[in-house]
Symmetry: C2
């Protein structure tokens, strides 16, 4: 059992809370039973190491056994070591489970070659909770992939990973492509691109969501830049009743993605 | 201008961050330009006092003028006083504006007497962000009222007020009634009661959302208790595709409420 909280290994894992270190090393943290379970079940090949406290090993015996079976290197660690490894800013305790995973970014050309029917594109989204929730919503809508453009939050930050509730391990995620390039490539592949924006001139209910399409969602505060909206086929808004001025990004995206699934998966 | 951060007034306002004090005094805090604006525009009568820093008075001149016109008592305060008055745990700064408002709980019998077509009931919801987001979603769906049952988060806590983005001042909110009583009264008033639950046996798309109805949403972790579900007309789930196991409460509620609006407001 690893008990030295000051070892190089512990320090190395802990450093993955920082974006620069994640990018340099190509690794990220998945903390807690939900994220670890989804990683083990759906993408065990990306798990470099799984750290488990004795308590968690007893409580999540089945999960740890599945990890062993999948060929994952499992290390028993003390509670103190696990705490020292994890994201300090986590609002939720990792409950004795932490996986170091390899970043496996999907390639946009591959995603498009697979003839997707529903894509979700996040442009300049900055809030980790919003990004994670939209990723989860895309997964629940059966989207074929999520694309996160440059200038967006790092989807491998501990907070985004947590808020995806495991969906990060469920579908391909493309990162680091400028939004203009994404829209151009997606349209060239034959998909319709719907920008979602509270100021859109088309109502969601009037849009035909049967043909293969991509939803483009912008920054939580300022939406999509005019020059980005112009690249899209249309700009769609979720109708608002009552006195509410707007929906937040995650809510609007959830509604749009669900609407697509309702039509495509009916 | 008020500059003494240790005055009784400042201490009294700051104490409203605590639930017990809010309940004893019947007052709560609305912090920041968005919440204050919605209070001034839609429910100025509940504002006891509005505190404004000189910077905010210049920046939000129109809003402050509207408050004066609505008969609100406006006090100029130093930055230090405003900071001392606000919720210490706020992740977002109040930007120089803080209103002390009177809690104005709606009465369920009055809400039902007005023949509502769409109600949103939150049962044992504990997370402030979830509760606020659902309230905002209910507002955007044109719901006639929101009911928050006993054992739920205090909707007048600073964090819920913030996350409603002003919607708390847009529609009647009933609090403090046990869920069984709410469901009984709502059904007696002729509304259909749909429980929303990931384990529901009816799909959202199969439910007729034209007749007047209430959505019942449960706790974010454990959903609705079996004995509560049994009181409802049906238990409805949002279909999930992809590999996602579930949607979070706010996402599921947003989808259900939007579905109701799509039918009732088409």
């Amino acid at each position: 059992m690893l008990t030295n909280t000051r070892s190089d290994r512990v320090r190395g894992v802990r450093a993955l809370s920082r974006r620069a270190v994640r990018e340099r090393q190509g690794l990220f943290l998945a903390e807690g039973p939900q994220a670890v379970r989804e990683a083990v079940v759906h993408r065990a090949r990306v798990i470099e190491d799984l750290y488990v406290t004795p308590t968690a090993a007893a409580r999540y015996g089945e999960l740890v056994a599945a990890a062993h079976e999948a060929g994952v290197r499992v290390h028993e660690v003390s509670d103190e070591v696990l705490t020292a490894m994890g994201d300090e800013q986590a609002a939720v305790a990792p409950q004795g489970l932490l996986a170091v995973c390899r970043i496996e970014s999907a390639v946009l050309a591959d995603v498009l070659a697979a003839r997707p029917r529903l894509l979700c594109v996040l442009s300049s989204v900055r809030d980790p909770g919003n990004a994670g929730t939209v990723l989860r919503g895309a997964d629940a809508a059966g989207a074929d992939a999520v694309v996160v453009t440059t200038n967006s939050v790092d989807v491998h930050s501990p907070k985004v990973v947590r808020s995806t509730a495991g969906s990060l391990f469920h579908l391909p995620v493309v990162t680091g492509v400028p939004v203009e390039e994404v829209v151009e490539a997606v349209r060239a592949a034959g998909l319709v691109v719907h920008a979602a924006d509270g100021a859109g001139d088309r109502l969601l209910g009037d849009v035909d969501l049967w043909p293969p399409h991509a939803w483009l969602f912008g920054n939580e505060a300022w939406g999509l830049a005019p020059q980005v909206r112009e690249l899209c086929d249309d700009v769609v808004r979720v109708p608002i009743h009552g006195l509410a001025e707007s929906l937040n990004l995650a809510m609007a995206a959830t509604i749009c993605l669900h609407a697509s699934a309702s039509v495509q998966r009916a």
